[in-house]
């Protein structure tokens, strides 16, 4: 009887020690789910979801926040998040917009640097009292630079279809009821 108890107690101690060691040695930094969610988010860092960036929103989703708050991700983003999290697909909480690009009217720009400070991805170049311009290949179209501009010289333009981003269309012609 006593031997059995001792053996069990010893086993518990050894296993407990092993588990304790493993939890220190193989500690996972951060929530792995947050990383997976963040990989789906479009990284525009636009804050349209109400959170200051994609990572905070990913953390919030992991904590139970709605998955339909990201307009740049679109309905497809919502679908991917629903797939990942096993939640229900919901309609997007905002209007879905085509991909955009910020353009500075360089004639009007006064060189105030406010947009440079607002840009989350450092896609605007310029210096105080020097003309600014958007590096179009880096712009995520987040619109954060539009508001701070005191002379309203920044506009958003929809990225037009070109040969480089043209896609073959879905070959199924959907049938629609006429009249």
């Amino acid at each position: 009887m006593l031997t059995a108890i001792l053996i069990m107690a010893l086993g518990a101690v050894i296993l407990g020690a092993a588990l304790g060691y493993a939890s220190i040695k193989f500690k996972v930094e951060g929530n792995p789910l947050v990383e997976k969610i963040e990989a789906i988010l479009p990284q525009t860092q636009c804050g349209q979801c109400g959170f200051p960036g994609c990572k905070p929103y990913a953390e919030a989703i992991a904590g139970g926040e709605e998955i339909n708050r990201c307009p740049p991700g679109g309905q497809e983003g919502v679908r991917k998040l629903a797939d990942l999290l096993g939640r229900e697909v919901k309609p997007l909480d905002a209007e879905e917009k085509p991909k955009q690009l910020a353009i500075i009217d360089e004639q009007t720009c006064i060189g105030c640097t406010l947009c440079i400070q607002a840009c989350p991805v450092d896609a605007i170049v310029g210096a105080a009292k020097q003309m600014h311009t958007v590096v179009s290949s880096l712009c995520t179209g987040c619109e954060l630079c539009v508001k701070p501009c005191p002379v309203e010289c920044i506009r958003m333009e929809v990225i037009e279809e070109s040969i480089d981003n043209w896609k073959w269309k879905y070959p199924v012609i959907e049938l629609k009821r006429v009249a």
């Binding site: 525009t44 860092q45 450092d122 880096l138 995520t140 040969i163 981003n165 073959w168």
Partner: protein, 569 residues
Amino acid sequence: MFQLFKFKGGVKPETNKAVSVTAPIAIAPLPAQLIVPLHQSIGGMPRPLVKAGERVLKGQRIGDPDKWISAAVHAPTSGTVVSVEERIASHPSGLPTLSVVLEPDGRDEWMERAPLDYASLEPERVRERLRDFGVVGLGGAVFPSHAKLVAAKAVPMEELVINGAECEPFMTCDDMLMRERAEEIVRGVGIFRDLLAPKRVLIGIEDNKPEALAAMRAAVQIVGENFEVVAVPTRYPAGGAKQLIRVLTGKEVPASTRSPEMGVQCFNVATAYTAWRAIAHGEPVLSRIVTLTGNVEQPRNWEVLLGTPLRDLIALGQPKADTTGYVMGGPMMGFEMPSLEAPIVKATNCIIAASPTLFPPPAPEMPCIRCGACAQACPHELQPFELYWFARARNFGKTQEYNIFDCIECGCCSYVCPSHIPLVQYFRFAKSEIWAREREKNQADAAKARFEFRNEREEREKAEKAERLAKAAAAKAAAAKPASEGVSAQSVAVTDNTAATLDPEAIKKATIAAAMERAKRQRESVQPKNTEGLTAAQSEEIAEIEARRTPLQKPTDQGEENSAPAIEK
């Protein structure tokens, strides 16, 4: 006897080649206007080198290759550049692309041409020459040839395969080129052989082209080379690079592996021809042989200047009245030209006038019955019916698991499908969606990296600023101490306290004053930097402008001050 191998799958469509080989290649007349797109090959978009109004000579470079995988573009004839602008491209999308619009002057005046003695040059220089003379794969893929002329480091080059198979129905441009200009092709192959140093050179030609086979054999003898000219069985797509390599060497190039890693490389006969013209005659790629066939009165092959609008070319063949459109490429892989204004480019090997009798409208698409005919026809041993299923459901991850990127879009599966499903359309759709997602993902990753870097930088700057301020405060406190020495300990503590409370204000004021002082000094020391080394006329002009400006500046300042209240009134 040469041992041939077989590739799996393939189809035997009606070839329809006989009509366009009755007449020899003719030189197409000079059109009234040439529209030369700058992006005519895979890889970087060439930068335009000319401006509107500039006169160019035939063969003058008008587009500079961008990076290594890219090829130069040249003026096909002498004349004046009308504009460099977006013009409709020979592309299924019908979207515009940057093109040089050229008005020929009719004189066809060449630039200076110099042959290159390539035997005495480093291979690298020869490759540069091919790039700068716009030599690209003329089989239709237009991959820059110089980039393919590099042997793999670890694998010795065993076979060089020259592709004269021309398996697409209707197409006869390579056939005619081999019949009429075989010797130059063989000499061009010689250049490729010297650059790659393979053990054997195999020229594969489908056995439905006996004249081309004979001409090439004769040319090999005349030039005195040991190339083997091999007749391969006629079966579509024997002219696919991987299929021809398989048939001639028995080597199967695995997915996402380049053929040099298997010790093989493959070039089209027309590419070899242009390479020879570029090296031995100093002529860049300015024209190509185009088969004009289908629903036309006079099908034949034309040597057409690149940039010739489709309208000018088809007029030569006299299309019949019931022609509905024009297909660029063959009936299996081609696409309908978006407009008659779209130009002939390096990839245009064939133009087929389409009519309802020639290409009847597709039968209605029926459901897939999973008969597996497509899988038997697929030369890449894929499972098109599975790919179709996933592409249709937009399940792109699965399509990649089923190796959609090994699909060469040859069209065999659509050809055999008893349900008339346009399978290739689905695969093209899936591929371009996957590419678009890939691009988006890369952009998102880059944006994330930049965002994180920015946050890090802001944190660092904040910390640095705090440190600087702390240091300044400490220095000030240290400076204040000697002054207050000799006073009792208690009063020191008091002054320290007051210093601490006063500090932020005082520091702020001091820094502002210092900054203003600095700015003032800077303003005084600044001199315009772009006024050195000017000509007398320019400095005179500047002085004149200054003289005009000084009286104007003062009144406007006052004027503004005066006008403000005036508005209020």
